[in-house]
Structures are given as C-alpha cells and as structure tokens.
C-alpha cells in the first residue's frame, strides 16, 4: 500500500519587493528627466556628390541681406524691419536669399531673421561668412 503525501501548497511570492523596485525606478525617471521642447533648423545638408545647400542663384533673383552687429537687418544699406523683408519674400519662393551676418550679432537675431524668411516662404537661404584674413 502506498501512502500519498499531502501536497504542500506553493508559497506565494511576495510582491512587495517588486513594488519597491518599481517605485524606485519611477522616482528615478521622474527626478532625472528634464523635459525640453526643442526643434531644429538645418544648417548644412550635403549630398554624396559634395554639393552643400541650395543654389543661391534662384530663378527669382538674389537678395542680399546684411545682419548688423546690433541684430538689425539691412537691405541695400538701409535698415529694414522683419515684416518688410517677409513681404518682400512672400510669393517669390524662387528668390535666392543670402544673409551676410556680422559676427558680433547674437544667435537669436540670425535665427529670427531666418525664421521670418522661412515663414514667408523663402526656399533658398544661404548664410555667407567672410573668412578672417
């Protein structure tokens, strides 16, 4: 005669340790994360054949805009506002635009100028930098 040994019920695994680990990870990610809403503006985009950027000689002519050290844009030597520049560019996406910035101007002024021109529909934008002698 064989006696059957009563089966011992399997022990329950405690969930407390898992909850501890989860909470620690949760707090870690909540504390260490910095949420930044960032975008980008392409500055250089070249292809395999080495051609960088767009052709500045647009079919709609070329516009040279100088950016002063104070962040003021100049067109043909005269200071112009961003709204005037936007109106000039609107409706002429083939216009090639070259920006000649002063190296003493701040980054925001250049970005604002590019932002205005791009928002007005400028398709061919190029930044010209005069190399120091």
């Amino acid at each position: 005669m064989q006696l059957a040994r009563p089966r011992t019920p399997p022990r329950l695994i405690s969930l407390v340790s898992m909850i501890d680990v989860l909470l620690i990870m949760l707090v870690f990610f909540m504390v260490t994360s910095t949420y930044l809403n960032l975008d980008m503006i392409p500055m250089a985009k070249s292809t395999d054949d080495g051609v960088v950027g767009a052709d500045p000689q647009g079919d709609g002519g070329v516009l040279l805009i100088r950016l002063g050290a104070d962040g003021q844009p100049y067109l043909r030597g005269q200071p112009v506002s961003l709204s005037v520049l936007a109106a000039r560019v609107q409706g002429n996406p083939d216009l090639g635009i070259t920006i000649l910035p002063s190296l003493r101007a701040d980054t925001q002024s250049l970005v604002s100028l590019m932002d205005t021109l791009t928002g007005a529909g400028a398709g061919q934008l190029r930044i010209l930098q005069v190399a120091a002698p």
């Binding site: 898992m18 994360s33 949420y35 503006i41 985009k45 101007a105 701040d106 980054t107 925001q108 928002g119």
Partner: protein, 134 residues
C-alpha cells in the same frame, strides 16, 4: 440578553491596481524621456517658430554665452572638440550634429565652428532652437 453580531472582517485591499498604475507611469517616463547629456553651462537656445522636429541620436555641440564649448556634455577646448568631431565625422559622415548655441552667443563663436564642422564633411548639421519663449 443581548446578542452581539459578529463583526465582519473587511477584505484586504488589493495592491494589483497600484502595481498597474506604477507600471504605466514607469513605462510612460521611460518612453517619453530621452537620455541626453546636458552641457555643464547654461544654454538657452534661440526661439524660432519654423523649426522642424528634431530626431534623436547624433552628437550635441553646446556653445555657451561666453563661447564655452561642450561636446556631448563634456566641456572641451575648441581644438579638442574639432579633433573629436573630425574622428566622428570620418567614421560616420551622416551622423547628425546638433549645434546647441545660447541665444545670446555672438555669431563669432557659432558660425566658424559650424563652418569647420561642415568642412570636415559632416552632412547633417542642425541648429537647436526652441518653439517657446525661454
């Protein structure tokens, strides 16, 4: 004689919903967070409304207001940055290079660096901007 009714035992609260919520929060923070090295100095990007969505990955070149430079969160001198970038660009010219310049940084500290990176053969150089007022 007054008979006392036996007190009912309240069932223990289940912790399964708590685990579910914690799991959801954990997965949420893990998914939306992007691990990125921050520069050891203050960098508040310029504001632009026509910026494009920035893809992940790549190398971040941070430029502070006083012209300080950091590559992927490590402050370096300009020659060291250019050397490190040159090695990276030679290995992978398609690697995205993000220039994260402070909005008040003079262009003299930004444009020559961008031109140098471009001259190395980097194919994707972008300027980091923010769509909101800092």
């Amino acid at each position: 004689m007054k008979l006392q009714r036996a007190q009912r035992r309240t069932p223990p609260e289940s912790i399964i919903p708590l685990i579910d919520v914690v799991f959801f929060l954990l997965v949420f923070f893990m998914l939306i967070g992007r691990m990125d090295a921050t520069a050891p100095f203050d960098v508040t990007p310029a504001v632009a409304l026509t910026g494009q969505d920035m893809p992940g990955g790549g190398t971040t070149l941070a430029i502070g207001e006083a012209g300080q430079i950091a590559l992927d969160g490590t402050a370096m001198t300009r020659p060291a940055v250019l050397d490190a970038l040159r090695d990276g660009v030679v290995a992978n010219p398609s690697r995205l290079i993000r220039v994260n310049a402070h909005h008040a940084t003079p262009l003299a500290d930004v444009l020559p660096l961008v031109a140098a990176v471009e001259a190395m053969g980097a194919r994707d150089v972008v300027l980091v901007v923010t769509p909101d007022t800092p």
